[in-house]
């Protein structure tokens, strides 16, 4: 795509692309087949600065911002969506809320280690009984002197098995649904923290998705993000940013689908010609390419607004909704273009097809994105 990037942005994109092509892509199929978390790659990504892109230099990051982040995320996700979600969660769901809402002491304590990848992070909002209805969460934190005692279960937590720190949303006041929630930074080494069931998934197989169980876990009040009662606001603000990253992930997967499909359409022959000569195949490729370009522009726009400090909730939701659906369209057509080969795990499109599915589900389902967008569009409903 022709898009006027600055020299710095091109360098970020190039570095991410080279790292993705040379280091991630060659091992992605194997890692996903075996369900291995790519700890080594993630560590190297931390050393190169890919985990501290939203963290200011004063706290050990590089402060590149959301636009640079989505450029890099697209490249990493083009190679492997599991590695991509690990990177997205670390930047947007773990570092970003600490930067925005953390006290100076919390920032100093956690950000340098998260930005360098020495610490991995997770974001724990969902529970067995609450997903889309996130404010329905029941895991609780009860004040006891200078600390809080946490009890409950978090569900579907990305990087939960490897995380050193977790941003966890807990109920501190049962009498108010949204204003009764508080965000804490908890450490996985603390007593009372346990990793529960590891989910066996359709896709994202080299990213861990686990249950986290808190049992009488004592957390100092100093580890509250922001203040008591604003946890839901923090969670939603954080997801507005995270969605831009997931949208970039969807673009990366879709681009991988297009690249593989173009290659196959030029190689594979049927009825004595390259299948790319059939208009039926050409139209699929044209649709994929167009939707990818539109998705990417929505992602760039949302990232740019966020970097400029402007409202971006609607744009982030639109980018996530459109890009995730475009990604699934692209994945379905990529399998189709590959014919029977596309159904085999020998070809990466089989993985792209499985991975694309999650982008329409996590960090707000497509239904929830439509609700968010509709709320922005309909202003005078009573």
């Amino acid at each position: 795509m022709q898009f006027p990037l600055t020299e710095e942005q091109r360098l970020i994109q190039t570095t991410a692309r080279e790292f993705a092509d040379n280091e991630i892509a060659p091992v992605a199929d194997k890692h996903n087949r075996e369900g291995v978390f790519p700890a080594d790659l993630v560590k190297r990504m931390g050393q190169l600065g890919f985990l501290g892109m939203l963290v200011p230099e004063t706290y050990g990051g590089n402060g590149i911002g959301n636009f640079g982040l989505v450029l890099a995320l697209e490249e990493v996700n083009r190679a492997c969506a599991s590695t991509g979600v690990t990177m997205s969660v670390q930047n947007s769901l773990v570092c970003a809320p600490i930067v925005h809402f953390g006290s100076a002491a919390l920032k100093k304590k956690y950000l340098p280690k998260l930005a360098s990848g020495e610490f991995l992070g997770a974001y724990a909002l969902s529970e067995p009984g609450s997903g889309s209805d996130a404010a329905g969460l029941v895991a609780s934190a009860v004040k006891d002197g200078d600390s809080f005692v946490l009890n409950g279960t978090k569900n579907f937590i990305t990087t939960g098995a490897e995380a050193d720190v977790v941003i966890a949303m807990l109920r501190t006041d049962p009498s108010h649904k949204t204003r009764g929630i508080t965000a804490f930074i908890v450490e996985s080494g603390w007593e009372g923290f346990a990793v529960g069931k590891k989910e066996d998934k359709l896709g994202l197989r080299s990213s861990s998705t686990v249950q986290l169980v808190f049992e009488d876990m004592r957390v100092p009040a100093a580890n509250i993000l922001g203040e008591v009662g604003i946890g839901f606001k923090i969670a939603m603000h954080t997801l507005d940013g995270g969605r831009i990253g997931i949208a970039a992930q969807a673009v990366g997967i879709a681009q991988a689908c297009l690249d593989a499909s173009v290659k196959y359409a030029e190689e594979r022959e049927a009825f004595d010609q390259q299948i790319g000569k059939f208009q039926a195949i050409q139209f699929k490729l044209a649709n994929m390419a167009t939707k990818i370009e539109a998705s990417r522009l929505l992602v760039y726009n949302a990232a740019r607004l966020k970097d400029a400090g402007q409202p971006h909730g609607k744009e982030a939701a639109m980018a996530k909704l459109f890009a995730s659906e475009a990604s699934n369209d692209a994945a379905r057509e990529a399998v189709q273009i590959h014919g029977g080969a596309g159904y085999l795990e020998d070809f990466s499109v089989e993985r792209y097809f499985r991975d694309a599915r999650i982008t329409e589900i996590y960090e707000g389902t497509s239904e929830i994105q439509r609700i968010v967008i509709a709320r922005h569009v309909l202003k005078n409903l009573r």
């Binding site: 190039t14 190169l48 600065g49």
Partner: protein, 265 residues
């Protein structure tokens, strides 16, 4: 030590090269440009020497070429080079390897480097002539196509392993010297994101003809003794012929085709 690293912006290896309308140039439209891969080994080696010595060693990246050379210099800075010089002037256009080496030698001379590192060749025109010519202009020893390089503790001698036909040759040179780098010398690092942010703030020095003790007649097309007359595309590859049958039948048919059609046996 002062280390000069020569870097060049070249079309990406995966680019489809198109010959320009004039038949004597390459059409840059739609091409993606990268740092010449062999130059990446040169940058990496310079940085490793600096890191090993842990003294006041500096690495200066030098690139001659159009505006896009700046991006390659920025990449070298992002990898960790200390300074960068962009050599560019309308008068330099159309220069052959010798004319370009003459310019680069005068850019490098006042820097008085102890070591000059370059790629063994640029993957665009594959001439492999600029670096050796620079060494000649500067009157320093050179070791080309080097796959291993050691600098003595007193920083006076370089020992280089050269790939030669059928084996390796070990060369010892007193510094200052010039070395061109071959694959295998090292594993180039990625430009880190903090490196990119730091590189953004660094100034890239511009050098043109007016800054050099050279006359317009001795640089660019005017100073070149060779001229590209025409580029030709590679001939189309004939279609592949598949031979059917069991192994014995295939072998017999292959021999027949090699004898009767290809006429090579």
């Amino acid at each position: 030590m002062k280390i000069v690293v020569l870097v060049k912006s070249v079309p990406d290896t995966e680019s489809k090269i198109k010959i320009g309308a004039d038949g004597t140039s390459i059409d840059p439209q739609g091409l993606k440009f990268i740092m010449n891969p062999y130059d990446e080994f040169a940058v990496e080696e310079g940085l490793r020497i600096k890191e090993r010595l842990k003294d006041d060693t500096t690495v200066v990246a030098v690139s001659m070429g159009p505006e896009r050379a700046v991006e390659v210099l920025r990449t070298a800075l992002a990898m960790g080079a200390d300074d960068a010089i962009h050599v560019s002037d309308p008068a330099f256009e159309g220069g052959d390897a010798q004319a370009n080496a003459r310019v680069l030698a005068e850019v490098i001379r006042p820097l008085s480097p102890d070591l000059i590192l370059g790629g063994k060749q640029a993957i665009d025109y594959d001439a492999a002539q600029v670096c050796p010519a620079i060494a000649e202009y500067l009157g320093m020893p050179q070791a080309l196509i080097v796959s291993e390089l050691k600098i003595s503790d007193d920083k006076k001698v370089a020992t280089a392993r050269r790939r030669v036909e059928g084996g390796d040759e070990m060369v010892e040179m007193t510094l200052p010297a010039l070395v061109t780098c071959e694959k295998g010398l090292n594993e180039p690092r990625y430009a880190s994101l903090p490196g990119i942010m730091k590189a953004k703030k660094k100034e890239i020095k511009k050098v043109g003809l007016a800054d050099l003790p050279l006359k317009a007649e001795s640089v660019g097309a005017a100073g070149s003794k060779t001229k590209v007359v025409k580029y030709h595309n590679l001939p189309e590859r004939p279609p592949v012929k598949m031979i059917a049958g069991d192994a014995a039948a295939q072998a017999a048919e292959l021999v027949r085709l090699l004898r009767e059609e290809a006429k090579v046996i």
